[in-house]
């Protein structure tokens, strides 16, 4: 194979996941028996509607008129100059309604919920972006909505908590375990198992039991499909590299997936290195974890020697998760995507840099991607093109950043 980064283990003609929701050895359905039949029903509904012209027309119509798609592709000229190398192109998911990519998936799953006759929507959230997006679609469809959020995140993402409440959602702070995103997911699963008859669980990332990793991916590939077309039209060709931040990995898989078969396009996922991967205080399972089973799927995890899931750390609540979507684990193993990490400090610096030189306030999550992209740009040099998924906007992070920097608002 002549491709410079197409690893031997990756065959672009093999479609993942398989019929049982496996991405190589990852994924699957590791849940208690009570959820097996509801998951089978969800799988049936998903398979029935994913190619249904009416369903797709409604989804696409909502993306266009409600979300505001296609989102812009923007050449960050001053950032490119400052980085001093490859061109940096930003896929502006921050311009979507509700301020992040998360809404793409919520629109899709809510349309599915409606067709399945479910009256109640639940979700977990970390930074609050998925919670806000879920509360938004629930408000629009007149559905009851309950959002589970780690108590620590409720504290650090107060503006989003208030937004969710205004949208009519009930926000339940979760105090068990480490009181962050993973515990919110546990609690949402417990709610689902108790209320399966009337409840649809909108998982916000490409993790969880099958069919979620694939379904959430499919609702986000619109990002990569648009970006691929826009790069050809505006930049004169495909990018040399695509960069995205990774918590669970939904924005990354959304932009990566349409490029998987393009062997000349390098894919980089940027995890949260927190205080530094070497300190142990981070949220980088692909860089420093190992495979295990959590939240219904087999994937790379942050765990101790006894198999207990360990606490994570990141300045960004949306990346503060000890697992990652199973497809990323597979892409790592077969070598099709590379996974790196950016520290809190690097993300903060990137946040300020983009704000100052482009007038774009990025989410702290997306700032991790910006941090790595500027480094990569200087390594790659002029004449190359980097596509960065600017997955969300940073309005929600203003309080956190002020606090970190000792500024009283």
């Amino acid at each position: 194979m002549t491709a410079k980064n197409l690893a031997d283990g990756f065959d672009p003609n093999v479609s993942m996941p398989d019929a049982n929701g496996h991405f190589g050895p990852y994924g699957g359905q590791f849940v208690a028996e009570t959820l097996m039949e509801p998951l089978a029903e969800l799988m049936d509904a998903w398979q029935k509607y994913r190619h249904d012209p009416q369903f797709l027309a409604e989804y696409e119509d909502d993306l266009k008129h409600y979300v505001g798609r296609p989102s812009a592709l923007y050449l960050a000229k001053r950032l490119t100059e400052e980085a001093g190398g490859a061109e940096i192109w930003l896929k502006r998911e921050d311009l979507n309604h509700t301020g992040a990519h998360k809404i793409n998936n919520c629109i899709g799953q809510a349309l599915l919920a409606k067709r399945m006759g479910k009256q109640r929507i639940i979700a977990e959230t970390g930074a609050g972006q998925h919670g806000v997006a879920t509360a938004t679609v629930a408000a629009r469809l007149g559905l009851e909505c309950v959002v589970y959020m780690g108590a620590e995140d409720v504290e650090r993402q107060a503006p989003n908590v208030y937004r969710m409440k205004m949208l009519g959602a009930k926000v339940v702070p979760v105090t068990s375990g480490t009181a962050t995103l993973k515990d919110a997911l546990n609690e949402a699963m417990r709610d689902w198992v108790t209320n399966i008859d009337n409840t649809f669980y909108i998982i916000g990332t490409v993790a969880g039991p099958a069919p979620y990793p694939e379904m959430v991916r499919e609702f986000h590939t619109v990002i990569g499909k648009e970006a691929r077309r826009q790069m050809t039209e505006q930049a004169g060709g495909l990018p040399d590299a695509v960069v995205a931040c990774i918590g669970g990995g939904s924005n990354a898989i959304g932009i990566f997936h349409p490029f998987l078969a393009d062997s000349a396009v390098d894919l980089y996922g940027v995890e949260a290195a927190g205080d530094g991967v070497e300190t142990g205080r981070h949220a980088a399972p692909l860089c420093a974890g190992r495979p295990g089973v959590l939240h219904g799927n087999r994937t790379y995890l942050m765990e101790d020697d006894a198999g207990q899931i360990i606490g994570t750390h990141s300045i960004s609540a949306g990346l503060d998760y000890p697992g990652v979507g199973p497809e990323h684990s597979w892409l790592k193993d077969v070598g099709r995507a590379r996974y790196v990490a950016a520290t809190d400090k690097e993300a903060l610096a990137a946040f300020h840099q983009l704000t100052r030189c482009e007038g774009i306030v990025p989410a702290l999550e997306s700032s991790h991607a910006i941090a790595f992209a500027t480094k990569l740009a200087s390594e790659l040099g002029k004449g190359q093109k980097i596509l960065v998924n600017l997955s969300g906007r940073g309005d929600k992070d203003v309080n956190t950043i002020a606090r970190v920097e000792g500024i009283e608002l």
Binding site: A32, M189, I196, Q308
Partner: protein, 267 residues
Amino acid sequence: MSRLQTRFAALKASGRKALIPYVTAGDPAPEHTVAIMHASVAAGADVLELGVPFSDPMADGPVIQAACERALKHNVTLTDVLSMVSKFREQDQETPVVLMGYCNPIEVTGYEAFAKAAAAAGVDGVLTVDMPPEAGKSAFAAMRAEGLDPVFLIAPTSTPARLQSICAEATGFVYYVSLKGVTGSAALDVDAVANKVDQIREYTALPVGVGFGISDGATAAAVAGVADAVIIGSAMIQKLQQAEPNTPALEAAASEFLSEVRAALDN
């Protein structure tokens, strides 16, 4: 015959129903667990279910979550739990012990290594909550190779097709989750349980245990009217939690609660 088969056969012969208490190993502290196990047997427990603490007990309600957190404060590992079973076996070779927990600690240990160590410690059955039959074929094969019974959950949502595949894989006994919800939930409908247990018996001759939502002697007796075993977890842990955290007080709490349930079952 395995310890589980022997025990259930003896119960059947004497017309009694099995009482299966659940405790989380290492709660409130590791040094009490073996004593609580012995006290439970003395008070009438027929089989012991020993919870392996996990950081993310997705199928458990607040009571067992808190028990896991207390045990994990003492860094109780799967290896520690097996040591507790070994120690229990020094004095009791007859009472079957079933581990109940989640996949990941077993994944980390490795299926074969775990199965060998568990069998050597004197474990009889393993219920892995987040490993339904289709998810763990190789794990279950490793367990069977060491003479361990993989125990499976059956839920109110399990369809006839699922009942068939679960019962085809199960040995020891099957565990019917009496309601849609997490462990320690409140409302258990005995008639609904009876209907489902009848349905389960069309697919297996194994004993059927019922758990999730059984909190006192009266409910236990009602459920025992239709099932072969009643499993009591959250209520048992609550009783232990109300006791002073020393071994004699915990033994007394286990004994008092289980004697009461035993009496209700035998009446």
